[in-house]
Symmetry: C2
Subunit: 585 residues, 2 copies
């Protein structure tokens, strides 16, 4: 037997039991007469004791053991004189009398403790060592529990988890596909799914009215912060549902996860904002509502006083920052720098300070009297002591810049605590987005999303104005899921492809199977997909999804641990009927 | 609201409730005064009634509806005068007063009922219609429940489900890989995993001592009956375990599945046979032990009577078939034809009939007296009324032929009922198999399987004789899982690669990351992987795994529904730095 207990299990009531433990040496301390070893496994740490007086031979052996050696220790549980309240096993220690070394270890390339000295690349290369550290171990345990609890929720509501295929068909709509050459069908390729979208819709046509799958998806995207070429979705679909049915079902799942995993009761109904409201109030379709500080439209209030910056702007928007009227020149300069960064793109920052003494100071005193500015203050509902920050310009880009400024102020004022969670739904997204470069519309969600019934008439006249039956769930400024009520009618689906610039032949070649399926009795249906990596990282309080993935790839899509991707043999290439076609530098 | 109840829900106690149902029209019957519609959804069938007398307009509408139309019916639950005990809703019907058509349907290409008239290819093309049929629906529901219960079992035993990557590295050992060209790393490829083997071993090195994953795996194999290019494993690994710990843990899982899914108590310990015993007694390493009929070695007993067929054979083996001494000439001829089929490969069949009257007749009377044959009868423990079937030849091929003959007799005598389940473990497999063509050893399980400690010495002298710490779990003649205790020592792993003909450089390039990991404190570990598709098909009583997969591929690895694999654009090829290299016919 390798062990009778784990290293996280023994307590004061186990005293005088004879036990066997197996694990890794976290640390050892040689105090002359005694040698102490912290033995670690997944479940915790237990202190082993070797006594020079009673068993000199064994104690000498123990002193030779290095960090990360894998050993087995047999001995008796005894009460510690010097208890460690930080350890769950801190009341006891093991007086060891038999010691076995299963495997030695060379010196690890970085410290395997909560705080480590290893750089990112080094820890990626030795991921199996990094995974020994508590933060990653806790994240993967959290991930396991979240998947398990999500499945519990769905199973008890008659959802079926159905596996959809991984080797599917390449379709140019959407992001780039990863493809897989077929050996048996030379010149032909499978594609890895960007999502099981069409298959889950076919399952609805097949009558499986509640489908769920926790599933790997793939996108061959260019390098962006915190994206992975393979990622995991909680993919869901339901039939015979209206939008509200979908929202309620999946709001329930999120509440179940918060309750079962974090003990947090989210008893209220999640706020539901339309896309237009979200943009208007927060400048973002994924607002962080842990703090208020909504955007106020000052366009009408501010215009007409001869200040060109404002008079020439299509839009003027302000934020009321509570209690910051005493912001210094330096602080305001920092904020100005912040909004002028290229990724934010504002030309400058205007401000109004509403002093605790009621005195109003601003960067626009030349054009606006105190009375003029009081109108602004009223508009943003300022109180004495508040600071009002104002941006001007084209409407959407100014709103987006205000959103960034709002988040920055939230950070500065510690209004975004990681242990507070504020979910909301954003609804009524536009159906289509115009792409200036391609000179055509793209589906904002995907081509299977249904337009609002009352907007269908606009398909021929003003497609850009159509609102979709599409929704996102947002938590703390992070979009953790999105979905829609789908088109379930062949003709509407064809119309949609035509609006997206597909010829009938292209639509048929790529999605003919789905439109054909709609001919055989497709039910009304809709669904959602959660970004599971993102959801776990949110629960874990991690900024990067890499920290909740066991073996992530780096930002050139490489696995530096196994050194992949890599070359394959000419024989393999030949069998697959392909050859390399690499541009010479 | 689309529905208040499902079509499988309403009972006699619901009478006079006003309800809304949604579903598909399974069948409709126009009886003049009344029209009846069977409305179907995933949960069952409910009878709708339309009355010409009370609501002629609606009744006329109902008559226009065709099979597989998707409709909504609102009405009152009433008691049926003509109850249908075969339906769970057979006591009631709905007197409909509101009818809505959500979608029409053209005539389906085959009958959507338990027994269908559609051929295989047609049903594959319209898989979403085939999935509406009860047999497939029940199989997928079974599959969902089995995955759910397996996860329950593991979760309650502290296993962590950890997702391993899908985009990994191609290694020539084992079956052929599917590969994925990397756009960002021109000329380099990922491979799809044939199993998460090396990753789960790295997780053991990382200290995650109980790992499980229900996971898609990929093998680019040539066409064989009932193989799929993508398939699902229940993949498991444990640290600090001996072989018995592994067997007990996963025997427990199998028992849990039988109990929770089928209500079958398998209370005994599963039989454990060594590979040698299995081959000797059943001629197979996956014996069907639903019936006895073991093979008896007659070599010594039969030789030396001047019959060349026997005297020149390395091995003579017999089966005792109870109660078949009256087999006719014709039946025996059929069996002779059976064993002479190329895939079985015997040269002929000898028999001895032990009549109920004690009289012995045989096909070898010329060479063997009744007394000679009594020795045979004793050896096979025959009783009056039994038939003894005998094959001769090279030992292993004759044992394999006897295994096939044994299964054939089991079929003929109905000794293999689908609702009886007899699991067993087969242990102590050979570590290596000699490949005559490649003139080298291959790992019988995989290169990470450990040799039995007592056989390690043979690595240098007689590798073919080494037994492995490898085990299969077999149910009813089907191998549903296999695994091993792994090598956890760098030097032994290197030695293993060297025996398999790898140069040190090849071993390092392909598996260096694993051997490097072994340097940092690898624990003893082992595991198992279950073929989940196979396991579900066994539970479902299906012969083909296709019947338990939602969207399977056909036997040229095509998805005929979505028409994949397919060509991709030249632009895609160029981006991926590859071009086609198709041999001209």
């Amino acid at each position: 037997m390798y062990r009778t207990h784990t290293c996280g299990e023994l307590r004061i009531q186990d005293i005088s039991k004879r036990v066997i433990l197996s694990g890794w040496i976290q640390r050892s301390r040689d105090l002359g007469g005694m040698t102490f070893i912290d033995l670690r496994d997944r479940y915790g740490i237990t202190q082993l004791v070797f006594n020079m007086e009673t068993n000199a031979g064994l104690c000498r052996e123990a002193r030779k053991l290095g960090r990360e050696f894998v050993i087995q220790a047999t001995g008796v549980v005894t009460e510690r004189s010097n208890k460690n309240p930080k350890l769950s096993t801190g009341d006891i220690e093991i007086m060891v009398d038999i010691l076995t070394v299963f495997n030695e270890s060379v010196t690890p390339p970085f410290t395997i403790e909560t705080e480590t000295d290893g750089g990112d690349e080094l820890r990626m290369k030795y991921r199996y060592l990094d995974l020994r550290r508590d933060p990653l171990k806790n994240n993967l345990w959290l991930r396991h529990r979240m998947a398990f609890e999500a499945r519990n929720y769905f199973n008890s509501r008659q959802f079926m988890e159905i596996e959809t295929p991984m080797l599917i068909k390449s379709t140019p709509e959407g992001a780039r596909d990863f493809v897989v050459p077929s050996r048996i069908n030379p010149g032909q390729f499978y594609a890895l799914p960007q999502s099981p979208q069409t298959f889950k819709q076919l399952l609805m046509v097949a009558g499986y009215d509640r489908y769920v799958q926790i599933v790997k998806c793939f996108r061959d995207e260019d390098l962006r912060a915190d994206r992975q070429p393979e990622f995991t979705q909680i993919d869901c679909e339901m039939s015979f549902v209206h939008q509200d049915d979908v929202l309620n079902m999946f709001e329930g799942m999120v509440k179940h996860l918060f309750k079962s995993i974090k003990g947090i009761d989210l008893n209220h109904e999640f706020p539901r904002l339309s896309y237009d409201q979200a943009m208007e109030q927060y400048g973002s379709d994924k607002p962080d509502i842990r703090f208020e500080m909504r955007i106020s439209d000052l366009t009408t209030a501010a215009k007409g006083k001869g200040f060109t910056v404002i008079d020439s702007a299509a839009y003027v928007g302000g934020l009321c920052v509570r209690g910051c009227s005493e912001y210094s020149r330096k602080q305001l300069d920092e904020l100005t720098e912040f909004v002028k960064k290229p990724q934010i793109g504002a030309k400058g920052l205007l401000y109004v300070k509403y002093g605790t003494d009621g005195i109003i100071k601003s960067s626009v005193d030349k054009f606006y009297s105190a009375d003029d500015l009081k109108i602004w203050l009223n508009q943003v509902k300022a109180q004495p002591g508040d600071l009002i920050l104002v941006l001007t310009g084209e409407r959407m880009s100014t709103l987006r810049a205000l959103s960034e400024l709002r988040l920055e102020m939230g950070n500065r004022l510690n209004l975004r605590p990681k242990d507070v969670f504020k979910p909301l739904w954003v609804l009524d997204f536009p159906l289509l987005e115009w792409d200036e470069e391609a000179k055509r519309f793209f589906a904002m969600h995907h081509p299977f999303t249904s337009p609002k019934t009352e907007d269908i008439g606009l398909l021929d006249t003003n497609p850009g104005k159509i609102r979709a039956n599409a929704y996102d769930i947002v938590i703390n400024g992070v979009e953790v899921g999105g979905g829609s009520i789908r088109i379930h009618n062949e003709y509407l689906q064809k119309k949609m492809f035509s609006v997206l610039g597909f010829t009938p032949e292209e639509a048929e070649r790529q999605f003919g199977f789905l439109m054909q399926a709609f001919r055989y009795g497709a039910p009304p249906h809709g669904g959602i997909a959660f970004g599971f990596d993102r959801l776990v990282s949110l629960f874990a309080g991690e900024d990067s999804i890499r920290d909740v993935i066991a073996f992530p790839k780096n930002n050139t899509a490489r696995d530096v641990m196994i050194d992949s991707p890599s070359k394959i043999s000419n024989e393999q290439l030949k069998e697959l009927s392909i050859k390399l076609n690499i541009k010479k530098e």
